[in-house]
Symmetry: C2
Subunit: 245 residues, 2 copies
């Protein structure tokens, strides 16, 4: 681990930017459950956890295709749909999932359960800081998801606003600009090394939040030990405590 900052180094931070998928909410458990339910309507046999993992595997390559200009801008809902159609074909179960089922599956990403520490940690952090969601989810997705999850933020900042996905530098810089602060005044909190790396390159301060269960029992989640960051914590409540909230 390279978590080297003292909280004194972070004194100029005024805004906490919290990543959502994996960092604030447990996408794998929630999506797997909804996959199982929707597949159950037609008695389609598939492993919901594995299916969800393979769906998510298509996430970073899809972002990269948009960020590189290989593909035009689309919202995360559209990327989820394209990956889903592709995956159902790969599983050779496309006929079992009609338009309604496919839409419902895409909307599964709008209903995700928060990790148990997030509501408390968020409330503590908001007492001292402006706390925003900074996510690759679209505006509609984020609004639905965070309302449903009961997680109140001071503002939702979506990649859809500036049409560039994290970890592209523009995504972090645009967020700071919209809040009229310098990048150094924003602390990015995320559970993924690629997100922390992108934020650091854009000159944000960084806090790695470990979510060892994020990828389920058969895969290893990203670890603070492998990530260069200013702070590391194992819960949002712990991070709030470290920051004096």
């Amino acid at each position: 681990m390279s978590a080297s900052a003292t909280t004194a180094d972070l004194a100029e931070v005024s805004v906490i930017a919290l990543d959502i998928f994996g960092t604030a909410v447990d996408w794998r458990t929630s999506v797997s459950e909804q996959v199982a339910q929707i597949a159950g309507r037609t008695n389609t046999e598939l492993s919901p956890g594995r299916f969800t993992d393979e769906w998510r595997d298509r996430y970073l390559p899809a972002l990269e295709a948009v960020n590189s200009g290989t593909q035009p801008w689309r919202t995360l809902d559209a990327l989820h749909r394209e990956a889903l159609d592709d995956l159902l074909d790969a599983y050779d179960v496309g006929d079992d999932f009609d338009e309604t089922a496919r839409r419902d599956l895409v909307l599964a990403w709008h209903r995700l359960t928060p990790w148990p520490d997030v509501a408390d940690g968020l409330a503590r952090l908001r007492r001292r800081y402006t706390v925003v969601a900074l996510s690759n989810g679209g505006v509609a997705l984020l609004t639905h998801l965070l309302k449903d999850a009961g997680l109140p933020f001071d503002c939702l900042l979506s990649a859809e606003i500036w049409q560039a996905y994290k970890p592209q530098g523009q995504a972090y810089r645009a967020a700071a600009e919209l809040l009229a602060i310098r990048p150094e005044q924003m602390l990015m909190v995320a559970a993924h090394t690629w997100d922390i790396d992108g934020a650091r390159r854009a000159r944000l301060r960084t806090a790695f939040l470990e979510r060892p269960q994020e990828k389920g029992p058969n895969r290893t989640a990203d670890r603070a030990a492998d990530t260069t960051c200013d702070l590391a914590a194992s819960s949002l409540t712990e991070l709030a405590h470290v920051l004096g909230c």
Copy 2:
């Protein structure tokens, strides 16, 4: 008044869009108080209420200049600053207000007291609807203002995101698009005829919220009686009640 809709007509509404300045917060009282305080630092004699009125008088023409393309895009903070510099010159008191004082005056618009019914009405509406702020204020301004005022929204939608000010149709349509709904599914709640007119032209549903004290004791606020709208109410709590919340 032309408030002709029954609530049944509004059954497809899923999102309430609340205007902020004048509709949710009492800009005139709050800004006047801060003008008085900042002018008091240098014993500058001016009428805070009149000064605030004349500052606000420059608001709609400034928006129109941007919307028409006569002026390039700038945030509301920048427009407030330009109008302030102009007004201080017109009052011949420019020398009394240094850079710090001018910045503080612009930031006065980030600290405005809500009308007393808003917190309760907002909480009621959010139980059934997605409730967003839809304002010409910039993202930073809205985030500061609504956090300071203790008003939690499901999402803050600022003209800064799409760089078009209300009442231009693009401002309303872009808000609906970002939330992945049709314009008819959004109910614009505002205290100004020009805002209601813009929303209606963009095919949103409209609710006029009367704020008879908005412009102070010497001016007449816009009235529902002169406005074509689907609903009219005299408080956000009353509107929530009419909508069954």
